[in-house]
């Protein structure tokens, strides 16, 4: 026997995880929130989701075709961006805005910067912020088509009850209202080791502590501030985006602390009722520096690890 076998440098085995597998897990983890959004806001919520996902995938497909690059839609990251964008939009958003938002997320924020792994900021969040600023009140759930699609309770005088906030039967973006559904998905991501606890726990914890002080040491009010608005979906699904958050545990803690503080600053002292998206976007931009500051100490180069 002298037939040649493959000559390759080690290692010769692999753990089997893939980008596509991770993105599939994120999609699975967002199913409960999608389902809850559909139940709470009706079938139009599902339409928004389908349009955003289809548009994001299509734009990435077309971009790769036009620029003659390897096709990357198979890694499902465009689908994740589309789903996250949809879940951050109000149910009554005009469909054409969904398409424009998807175009912005995929082509401008992601593909033009070099595609997956090279975007500076999270595509879904940036698109949401873009829509908020560009289309003004349209993107903020300000004109209710029915009772439940009202503005985020953060803008209201009277907060819904904790149970209502937990289950999600109140106004807000499609996927952000049901804390229960988001927690189920978040725990799934933790169990599957797609994310670690650092960002969600520190982000949410920071907002809770800050709100606790601002609300005059009222734990119930502070808990309401945590569950209302986009904090839970942001902390579990948007701030944990690998590309735009630091890799090391300490980096994640610093990132989440900053995001939590900015969220509260905007909520309590800013012009917008909600600050999660802005806060994450802000920390996205700082991520390369946080990564540098929180590099692990290399074994054998002096001092501790």
């Amino acid at each position: 026997m002298s037939s040649l076998t493959k000559l390759m440098i080690s290692p010769h085995i692999h753990c089997g995880r893939s980008t596509g597998g991770i993105m599939r897990d994120v999609l699975i983890a967002l199913l409960p929130a999608t389902l809850a959004g559909t139940l709470i806001f009706g079938l139009r919520a599902l339409l928004v989701v389908l349009v955003c996902v289809a548009a994001c995938v299509l734009f990435e497909l077309l971009f790769n075709l036009i620029t003659k690059q390897a096709q990357t839609v198979g890694d499902l990251s465009a689908a994740v961006t589309g789903l996250l964008l949809a879940l951050n939009l109000p149910v009554n958003i005009p469909i054409w805005q969904c398409v424009v938002g998807s175009l912005f997320a995929i082509v401008v924020v992601k593909c033009l910067f070099g595609g997956i792994g090279n975007n500076l900021v999270n595509p879904a969040i940036t698109a949401r912020v873009f829509m908020l600023v560009a289309f003004g009140s349209l993107a903020i759930p300000a004109f209710p088509v029915d009772a439940v699609a009202s503005a985020t309770p953060l803008a209201a005088e009277q907060m819904p009850s904790l149970m209502t906030l937990f289950l999600g039967n109140y106004g807000g973006a499609i996927g952000e209202t049901s804390t229960l559904a988001l927690l189920i998905g978040g725990i799934y991501l933790l169990v599957r080791r797609v994310i670690t606890w650092h960002i969600p726990v520190v982000f949410i914890g920071t907002v809770f502590v800050f709100s606790f002080f601002m609300e005059g040491f009222d734990a119930v009010r502070a808990l309401s501030m945590v569950m209302a608005g986009g904090l839970v979906i942001g902390a579990f699904f948007m701030a944990t985006d690998y590309v735009t958050s630091p890799a090391t545990p300490w980096g994640k803690v610093l990132f989440a602390l900053g995001a939590g503080l900015f969220t509260c600053l905007i909520r309590y002292f800013g012009n917008y009722p909600e600050g999660v998206s802005f806060a994450i976007l802000f920390m996205n931009i700082l991520t390369p520096y946080i990564g540098r500051w929180t590099r692990r100490k290399v074994f054998g180069t002096g001092g501790d690890k």
């Binding site: 026997m1 076998t5 690890k305």
Partner: protein, 439 residues
Amino acid sequence: MARYLKGIHVPHRKNTANKPAVRMDAPQTVTIPMAMHIGKPATLAVKVGDLVKVGTKIGEANGAVSANVYASVSGKVNKIEDCLLSNGATAPAVVIESDGAMSVDETLAAPTVTDRQSLVDALKESGIVGLGGAGFPTHVKFDVDPARIDYLIINGAECEPYVTSDTVTMLTRGDDMAYAIETIARCLGIGKVIIGIENNKKEAIAAMRAMAASVSVCDVQVTSLPSVYPQGGEKVLVYHATGRVIPMGKLPIDAGCVVINCTTLATIGAYLRTGMPLVEKCVTVDGGAVAQPQNVIAPIGTSIEALFAFCGGLKEQPTKILYGGPMMGITVPNADAPVLKNTNAVLALTEKEAKLPKTTACIRCGACVNNCPFGLAPAAISRAYDSRNADELVELAVDACMECGCCSYVCPANRPLVQKNKLSKQFLKEKRVKEANKQ
């Protein structure tokens, strides 16, 4: 600092751990290269037509870091040919046609070892090199001021998947190991010996504890370590066994330790008792393509093809044939390649076993950083290498990389991370040489 460094959980696949090693008959021919160790190749000591016996010296160590080479079968030197080494260089190899008798060279005699110098001389004569895979001449490790040695550490971690030849050694050659420990401890005045074994080898741990109890000249401890790859990495083992950190670019002796592999230790013991130099090797023959996986005691120079034939042949065409385990093993081009001194396993991997996913873009998930035992940032190193940024590579301390491959194993984009680390180290080395030449 953490009690244990990070690492990864690799599949164990220790299919051959519970089967005794089987000694194979003399193959028809053996091909013995002069370079089976780190350092200069040995100088040929025979010519075509010479008659040799088992243990006849056929290669003479060339300089301080080199090793003697011995005939592993009795017979006639058939030819001397150039042999391609895994680093791409070539070295002469002696091809011996076996007479089938395996008659032993009468001149062999147990060495007289009384002190450090006679121990080093004996080890130098024995041709023994690091048998765990590195192939570093063993005598060099002991050729130091004994006052610098606080610990003798025996590496029985065997953290690579499939490989069980060290386990089999620990289960069956406790006598040789005890003899070697006693002699080394006496000659060098070493008070503490630590044997590090992964906790998935309960029987080996029990066997080593029994062996340790029989040694009286020094304190021998058996440490059960987590089965986390790369537990057998020298710097990892020293840290886990003693808490000492070997600085980047330094050797175990700089942390007061001498580390030797358990099979190397057993081979030392056998040599000190009988005078039989390193002529045969216990090799794990496994992988999905092998019909009857088992540990085989084979003469050095036996072709991989003969090993496979002894193990019932191949069930299917392997995609890759490896020296060593799948995490750090080296592929060989075909089955004509011989068993070397430092071959602890020969694996014939099927297409399914050796299948690697497609390489895609880095998604900055941090898996490489968070799984690196030494805290390196492989993805950042790759980017720095791609732009040939030497300053950044130094800043990222790429020279600390032990090339264990955890980063590549866990990368969901299957990026060539450890591969780029190796290239980066080579790049820095060449750059330093160039700069030194300029001045």
